[in-house]
Amino acid sequence: MLIWIPLLPLLGFLINTFAGRRLPKAMSGGLASLAMLAAFGVSVVEVAALLNQAPGGRELVQTVYTWIASGDFQIPVTLRLDPLSALMILVVTGIGFLIHVYSTAYMHDEPAPEYARYFSYLNLFAFFMLLLVLAANFIILFVGWEGVGLCSYLLIGFWYQKPSAADAGKKAFIVNRIGDVGFILGVLLAFVRFGTLDFQRIAAALGPLAPEAAFGAVSLIALLLFIGATGKSAQIPLYIWLPDAMEGPTPVSALIHAATMVTAGVYLIGRNAVLFTHAPDVLLIVAVIGALTAVWAGMFGLVQTDIKRVLAYSTVSQLGYMFLAMGVGAYAAGIFHLFTHAFFKALLFLGAGAVIHALAGEQDLRYMGGLRRDLPITYWTFLIGSLAIAGVPGLAGFFSKDEILYRTFASGHPWLWLIGAATSLMTAIYMFRLVFLAFHGPRRVRHDHDHDPAGSHAHAHLHDAPRAMGIPLVVLALGSILAGYIGFPEMFGGANWIEHFLEPSFTAPAVAESLEGAEAAAGAASHSLELVLVIVSSILALAGIALAAQLYLKRPGVSARLAERFPRLYRFLVNKGYVDEIYDELFVQPVKSLSDNVLWNSLDTKVIDGAVNGVGTIVGETGGVVRHLQTGSMRAYALSVLLGAVLMVGYYLWR
């Protein structure tokens, strides 16, 4: 049964690929959504079956066929459903379905073949993503990993005639590939070290061992895998592709670049939690990179004017949170945040999409404002999403974020906690800057007609999201409120159900029980600390919202004055830290110039081919000298024959 979960979207993809251009739009969009709904249904059934099993040993396994076998290198297509992947498939199929439905309305202006192409890509993405989270070994995971990268490439560049979109797609793919080099090497090393690539067997092999004190093979595997994760999950130094990826259609940003694909790196670490636990040095690196990414990306989110780019930097920042959690060993907290984030970030992107849809393509915050009255559904749902991501008590983000911050502090990293808390403040500021600029205040309309003639026209009669877009928004808004309660902290008398549910996925099969007991004891001791931290971060969130209200609602001039006051800092932030430019100067241009000037036009054509042609020239020149012996006179040839004969005979006679 498990195989049907990814197979149903694949079926949708095949139908839309081969018959899509002949189907009416409602059919192709409906089919794709239906495939997702069916996959969601199967997922629910399977997860229910999983929940019926005894805690601790919950898993469903299906081996489909042997994909690759060569000597002892055996790669079966095996799917394994355990608590971690159960959570993931529900997110992917559930939120995926909502986004499919939303897309049927959002993409309605596309002609039928393009529309079918869009949905076929979306289904294909779901197939690969489900394969990724259900995979039981590294190679099948890698198939999904690369597959979602491909779909991301295709969907970012969906409007391929726009050079910026095509560029962004290519950039995403290539930056991801940089990470993939690390990933592949990590997998190879894991195979050599463990003789298997099955996650469970690797965990079982590591279970009895103590964590590596020095940086050894296991740490190297973990580090290489983490490099892969930084690519896919947009962490420093490979985060640069995600903001550009906003060139794709907005539902794609919601599905791939917020809710699912970009969290694959976090999932990868969660999936290999035992491995990472055995590599404490690498865990520290993960935590530091996560924290730095969180604050670094948050900074740029503060000044971006493109509504989607603000959300993109916010995604990078939130992913940083998740890595921070993974890095301090709070795997369940990281995955919990992944889960809640999927709801509110998908909601925010879809809300932004509804705004863009209503404004006929306008994405610049400077030309929005006052949309609250015209787009009530969008406004209220967007507000809920913003409150959730800012960490306002009671909403989803609050529980997961505070869990991460508390675990960071409790694990003995007060500095990382401080960075996380600062990021939390920034999150509240940039999110509500966005809310206030887009929905509050006066309407600002773009005046340069050359730039967007259609847009200014459409501003006249705004309409709120149609039903196919509104319903997903409302459902996601509900999710953004409620999703947090599956991890209701024990401090408030909750059960923190999610943590206990996920725990077996993060421990080696043999040692699961002993660890659980120890952690429960450690958790009970510090409820008072947790409470203090929760209060601090709640205050930060509210302070951030208040500050945003001051800057962008009450006194709109202040932010401009701040920018004038610190021009260099402002330019630094607006230009996204010049990171793209630095990479270009440091890597792209030197490689291009090396390849073009040194390797091709010097080494290849001059040195190597020069040597080859040189041999030819030498032969030719020699011939040019020797040819003068050929006089063309028959008599001379006869004479030389005679002389030769005389010489030979003479040699034998007088020897």
Binding site: Q630, G632, S633, M634
Partner: protein, 100 residues
């Protein structure tokens, strides 16, 4: 009774006449004839050797040489004729197109 040496000397003399003909005459047909003379000089020495060794091998080889000579004469003359049609002279010094 003539000894082997007599035959060989005669053969040498005829051969030298042939060589001289090849080098001194300025007519392609004469040159071809001179080559025939050289071949026949060699034939003579073959037969002489065969006779004095009491074996038939010499004569067999001569038959081969005569056959080849006949073929050579046929091809050679045909070439000479077509060359003559082309350049309208039989002087070998006129054919220098193959100079390197």
């Amino acid at each position: 009774m003539a000894s082997l040496n007599h035959y060989l000397i005669l053969s040498g003399v005829i051969f030298t006449i042939g060589v001289a003909g090849v080098f001194l005459r300025r007519n392609l047909i004469t040159i071809l004839l001179s080559i025939e003379v050289m071949l026949n000089a060699v034939n003579l020495s073959f037969i002489a050797f065969g006779r004095f060794q009491g074996s038939a091998d010499g004569q067999i080889i001569v038959f081969f040489v005569i056959t080849v000579a006949a073929a050579e004469a046929a091809v050679g003359l045909a070439l000479v004729i077509s060359l003559f049609r082309h350049v309208e002279t039989l002087n070998p010094d006129a054919y220098r197109q193959l100079r390197g």
